[in-house]
Symmetry: C2
Subunit: 138 residues, 2 copies
């Protein structure tokens, strides 16, 4: 069974904070991209476009790592997970990037869409929680 | 010849902004850690401790990726590089973590040192600049 996202992790993922996604290419070299992020249940979701390096990498090597550091509290509010991209799909991807634009930019639709671009929604099943945000001290 | 760090990249690396470092383990799985960071000439430097995952990974697989996103300007002030750890050394590592504590915490010596911990300074030679901060618009 996949690890669960803690309430503190969900609270962090609900803020418009950037995540970094690490993937690997065919030569086993790591690649990093800052992304918008959200979650559904205990899966993490992000959005990319057909042809981008991380989509190409993940189709061959589904292993990835995600780091989210809240700039407002970078020593306590840190989520780091390792997992696998279990789904990479066009289905619902346009609605998803619009929802992320609302979350991060406060407006929708997504304003950076390129002509002919095919958006992809990526679902990440967490395999290991390396670090999660501390509960607020009372 | 290694790519040079632009003035905008050096300006970003001079701010107390967290970096994410991606390395790979023996199974070619990516791992991510937020770190303090600085630079020397056109090399990027960070600090870790003997036995940490990224030190273990980098001794076997020197390839890594680094992402630095300025939370104050996350759409323009982004540095992403790929490179290699060309040196992992105890020499100067204690002074280096103290200097980083001054940069990030405004005080020195480094307050989180563990008993018996051996600090390591890692020098990264950049091989490819994937993204660098835009110059300020005039």
């Amino acid at each position: 069974m996949a690890p669960l996202l803690s309430d503190t992790s969900k609270a962090l993922l609900s803020k418009p904070v950037f995540a970094n996604i690490a993937t690997v290419n065919d030569r086993c070299e790591p690649q990093l991209t800052p992304v918008w992020i959200d979650f559904e249940g205990d899966d993490i979701l992000f959005n990319t476009a057909e042809g981008r390096t991380k989509a190409v990498n993940l189709r061959k090597h589904p292993d990835l790592a995600i780091s989210v550091v809240d700039p407002a509290d970078p020593y306590n509010s840190v989520l780091i997970v390792r997992g696998k991209a279990i789904e990479i799909t066009e289905e619902g991807a346009d609605e998803h990037i619009d929802a992320l634009a609302q979350k991060y930019l406060g407006r929708t639709p997504y304003p950076f869409r390129q002509p002919g671009e095919k958006r992809l929604k990526v679902r990440v099943r967490i395999e290991r929680v390396v670090s999660e945000p501390s509960p607020p001290s009372s």
